[in-house]
Symmetry: C2
């Protein structure tokens, strides 16, 4: 019944408004005030899902979803998740389900090899990987490990002096993780980037900031470098940044949440060149790697640093296998004790696609993004704001196109950058309210850009072409009546 329901959902998902059109509070009005006293049949509940839940979904699996970064699903990932839900084991330590731990150590090595991560990040070297829920958790774990390692050298009373570095394009998760870990909020540095470096973090800016902090008596702790930033998919230069960090004995984490997956293709691998100088590396397999939410892969060179910070050994969890030190107990590699059997779905995806088809899957998206970029470039009213990396295109209506309209309409008025931002904001809103497609935005150096992220499992060229037509139609409407 549920399988049929989901099959119908995927058949029809393309027809639904991508962005849900409900108003805040809609659901409260549809559901009873409290839990029923007596059981209700699954059929009744499923009816309510159709009637009340589906209209309130923003359809992330629609091929017309081009917002944020995608959260891809696949039959293999779904089946793996079903099995893991069915077994419902809690593999916090090896003994609590050896297969859950061992399969995880195996698949993170498989994936690490596909990425050509240095041996030092793999169990087959002296490192290792772990599957967590999200990058937020992964980064928190690494900051805590770095923090404790540093404080063990300089004394716990110096927590207040530790500084975390990132760029102003870095995901907000890093700042949040630093704050949770007790890093003083004033000691988070979001270093300015600019169009000159395509919004990549400049090693010189990093060094300058570090020097300033050291002079002020602070202690550089942690650098998060990003491969594929959220606003524009910018790529920080890992090799040079790691070299700077090394001078100051800092921990470097590489956040490749979105773009890391693509690096299994030889043509994208150069973007993580220099990763050998980092301490940890993560990507979200639920983003562009078909595993369904959630599955973040984190590799570290020195698992003992994680374990020192995150291990607990209460008597009620003690067991011979742990005492023997022959096994991995993943509870000591993460924030939480309980953990789902996530490796099963990643294993299903790796095997049922194989390296060849996984590469094709991502290359196909990159090709479609290039197609979209080409369409935008042909329309002189628009500009591509930053070079397209991976499968994301950042574009906007040009201020000049707005000025021209104003002039054509015989009206007066200068079009400022702020006016252009406002026009692009309106354009995006009108596109999204149509329900035909869903895109989101970013602001870089004060410029409002529309992000077009290709990556849905079901997306085809025709969806991309239609999406561009939708953009043009809405742009026409906005331009025809435009006044600054």
């Amino acid at each position: 019944m549920i399988i049929d329901f989901l099959a119908d959902y995927y058949r029809d998902v393309e027809k639904y408004p991508v962005l849900s059109q409900v108003k805040p509070g809609y659901l409260q009005k549809c559901l009873p005030e409290s839990t029923p006293h007596n059981p209700e049949p699954i059929e009744t509940i499923l009816e309510d899902v159709k009637k009340h839940i589906v209209p309130g979904l923003t359809h992330w699996q629609s091929p017309n979803f081009f917002a944020y970064f995608q959260c891809t699903s696949s039959i293999a990932g779904f089946l793996g998740e079903m099995l893991s839900t069915g077994f419902n084991v809690v593999g916090f330590s090896w003994i609590a389900s050896p297969a859950a731990t061992e399969l995880e150590t195996i698949v993170v090595d498989w994936l690490g090899e596909m990425l050509e991560l240095p041996k030092s990040f793999l169990f087959s070297g002296k490192g290792g990987g772990v599957l967590q829920g999200t990058t937020c958790e992964a980064v928190l774990c690494t900051i805590v490990a770095a923090r404790d390692q540093m404080l063990s050298q300089i004394g716990k009373e110096n927590l207040i002096k530790l500084v975390v570095y990132a760029s102003d394009q870095t995901h907000s998760a890093i700042q949040k993780a630093a704050k949770i870990a007790g890093i003083h909020p004033m000691n988070f540095r979001a270093i300015k980037t600019s169009k000159l470096t395509s919004y990549a973090l400049s090693p010189d800016s990093l060094r300058a900031q570090i020097r300033k902090d050291v002079e002020a008596g602070l202690v550089p702790l942690f650098l998060c470098a990003t491969v594929g930033t959220t606003p524009t998919a910018a790529i920080d230069p890992l090799d040079k940044l790691c070299a700077v960090a090394k001078e100051y004995g800092m921990w470097v984490h590489v956040d490749a949440a979105y773009a890391g997956s693509a690096c299994i293709c030889p043509e994208f691998r150069p973007f993580i060149h220099g990763v050998e100088g980092a301490n940890s590396f993560s990507l979200n397999a639920h983003k562009w790697f078909l595993t369904t939410l959630d599955c973040c892969c984190l590799w570290v060179k020195d698992p003992s640093a994680l374990i020192k910070s995150l291990s607990t050994n209460p008597e009620y969890l003690r067991n011979k296998a742990t005492d023997s030190k022959q096994v991995v107990d993943y509870k000591d590699w993460q924030i939480t004790l309980s953990r789902r059997f996530r490796s099963l779905k990643l294993w299903f995806v790796l095997r049922s696609y194989g390296v060849h088809n996984l590469r094709s899957f991502m290359r196909n998206h990159v090709k479609m993004a290039k197609l979209f970029e080409g369409l935008v470039a042909k329309d002189k009213r628009f500009e591509i704001v930053v070079p397209t990396n991976f499968a994301m295109v950042c574009f906007r209506i040009l201020p000049s196109a707005l000025s021209e309209t104003v002039y054509k309409n015989g009206k007066l008025g200068m079009v400022s950058e702020e006016d252009a931002n406002e026009a692009n904001r309106k354009l995006l809103e009108s596109i999204n309210m149509s329900g035909c497609v869903f895109m989101t935005h970013a602001v870089v150096e004060g410029v409002y850009v529309i992000r077009f992220a290709v990556g849905a499992t079901l997306v085809e060229e025709r969806h991309v072409i239609t999406a561009w037509k939708v953009v043009q139609e809405h742009a026409n409407a906005i331009l025809s009546t435009y006044e600054p």
Copy 2:
């Protein structure tokens, strides 16, 4: 195919050795060294699951699993999880899938009302609830909220003075969360409990410790009280503890991870009497509430305290609904940004069981635990170490039974408490290695006890009776040849 596989699994699970019998490293030998280049059919992967994964599972869903606390599954929970995996939406903010947010606010209120939580913890009052992965995350969020609230009053440089309180029976998750949040490791107080209070935290001991800390210039921050501790299901007296904490302006969190679920039964509700004095309350619906892993419900009186610490508002996530402040954005109530649509499975469980059957489910387990307790009590060689709370029995072979054996066998030697511990350890190991049942242990005031936790979805009286026979058989064997 997968459904048939799982149906067979549940049919046969009773016959498998509960505790997996594999040796460390077994799986590496069964699987290839790297990801296949070409796709493999699902049938082949599923064959490998049967052959290589199932033997490496410790079967948490077996009716013969009496270890730790259970992680219950149900058809309703499974179907809800399938739907949420199928939709695969990421409801970090309201706009990203309104139904995911709104259903969550509704079900946490439903469950809160079933627990008769004060209105102040519910959205229908001024509080609210959130579904997170595990108690570890929930406690970390509350410690961070309490920390930032306190530091905003006394200055961020005083982080080093903050103290977190719990009992020596409190789950290790609390100490770990405090450490992650940057609380100085020396400022975690695990206050001693004893058999006199059945291992509940004494309000007098708490007050004495707080006074000492205040005199030393430290700042009391946070108390975690537990209803149903992991070692012995002990119950901290919430009303009195909250009164002490209130005197010092501390945040009180109630960890009812295991036993909270049972409090939907009027006869168990008194165990959370006094919760109105706490700031936050959590239980794991994946433990005793049939939702499958993972689903921790956290309620707070003052959501703004959480939000102040955990909110982020990067430009690329900005939207009109958020700006209107008419909606809940759950990303600001938790560690992570991305989040699974967990409310769906909890909603399925609540409706497909109804209040009546949920209560019966738990009462039935409590009844079976009493049955087991009765069987143990009848055998004079054993003792029930602490009064049985909820559905967990703590028992051991008595030192006197060991002495008697020694005497009967005509041998010499005193039986110390340590000898008794060693004998009980051996008993448990021999029981678990048989594969017939799986139980775990705890140590309280130096006494090794065997924990028998009833709570598997499929457990019936016959399994409990058999489990006791298994214990007796293995005890007979150990006693027959016993020497200290």
